[in-house]
Symmetry: C2
């Protein structure tokens, strides 16, 4: 299997974390975002929307990170990352969708303004940070409540939902907004629990 | 089971179509969007992000339409709407995610400008329509290619992915942009095939 991606990309990290949790590796092919490789015809033939990651498994090509995560979990041996119990699985699906609907976009806006632009010598826009901070705070309030009495988003078992939130929580940490996580007791304890897992440490370090 | 929603809402229609495909009914509870019922405490207790639909199944509450669709498909008897073959299921997941990432937002913007605002006696903004039209056209180009030689998005079987696209395709039709569908041969044939199904006819009429 080949993964086309970038080691700093949130969506690539989700897929690599699933692989690492399964104790598996794939051939990693760097798509150099800084050089615009994701908009070149070679990559657009793999992913018509010109983003990353893409999975190639022999003659089968798949994109959209959350779809790749599900595919790898179903296909590969190792501990399952999808609960079998109906309601737990439904909660996994709900939190995967909440991440996509309400959390990923503002978290990425924050890291763009606070980290990526300054890396290129450009000033970030703190008004965008403030507006995005309100959105991520709302989402974190919701999961603070949902995590009460539960170790993981889907309940008692670590799942794809936890993995899908991690790269965006990391965006807050590197943007010096880690207190949004640690100020919320359940979110803070959950983040500690999941970010100490060897698979995430390997992918994010 | 209870579904809290609105009959005109795209996300409510997805869930109702799954129910209809299964030959099942749930108690429908209208959330009157026009009166702002979705932002009232009673509804926010069910859905903290203040949108619709919400499913209540005895003491279990679930939101996010795509999660509800999966739950209903897993739980209810009737023809399965999730392929069992690994690659077909992965394609279903990919197209569900593409709808959420690239198609739903611009399609809803179009219907808002072309239909909802004029219904309230306000003029729509054709510049927003034009920008959104470019985005939906791009997504339709991608599925035009993907549908070549296939009856449905996941391949040979009708799935949750097809259902998830239908309400947004309908947005284009009611916004007098149905030619974006019919001008593309594979998309046009697919739309005819899926929109003639009794479940969709029942939900959308």
């Amino acid at each position: 299997m080949k993964i086309y991606g970038h080691p700093m990309s949130t969506c690539t990290r989700k897929v690599l974390t699933v692989l690492a949790e399964k104790g598996q590796e794939a051939q990693f092919v760097l798509v150099d975002l800084m050089k615009g490789a994701h908009k070149q015809p070679e990559h657009l033939a793999r992913h018509p929307f010109g983003v990353i990651p893409v999975l190639e498994d022999e003659d089968f090509t798949l994109y959209e990170s959350r779809a790749i995560m599900r595919y790898l979990d179903h296909k590969l041996p190792g501990a399952p990352l999808t609960p079998t119990e109906l309601r737990a699985r439904a909660l996994m699906d709900q939190w995967l969708s909440v991440e996509q609907s309400y959390f990923a976009t503002p978290a990425v806006k924050i890291v763009f303004q606070r980290v990526f632009l300054p890396m290129q010598g450009k000033p970030g826009d703190e008004a965008i940070v403030d507006a995005s901070k309100a959105e991520v705070s709302k989402a974190l309030d919701v999961i603070e409540k949902a995590l009460a009495g539960h170790e993981y988003l889907a309940g008692s078992s670590y799942s794809l939902a936890d993995i899908s939130w991690m790269p965006y929580l990391q965006c807050l940490v590197v943007s010096k907004l880690g207190d949004l996580i640690t100020d919320r007791p359940n979110v803070g304890a959950w983040w500690k629990r999941i970010s100490e897992r060897p698979a995430w440490v390997k992918v994010s370090s």
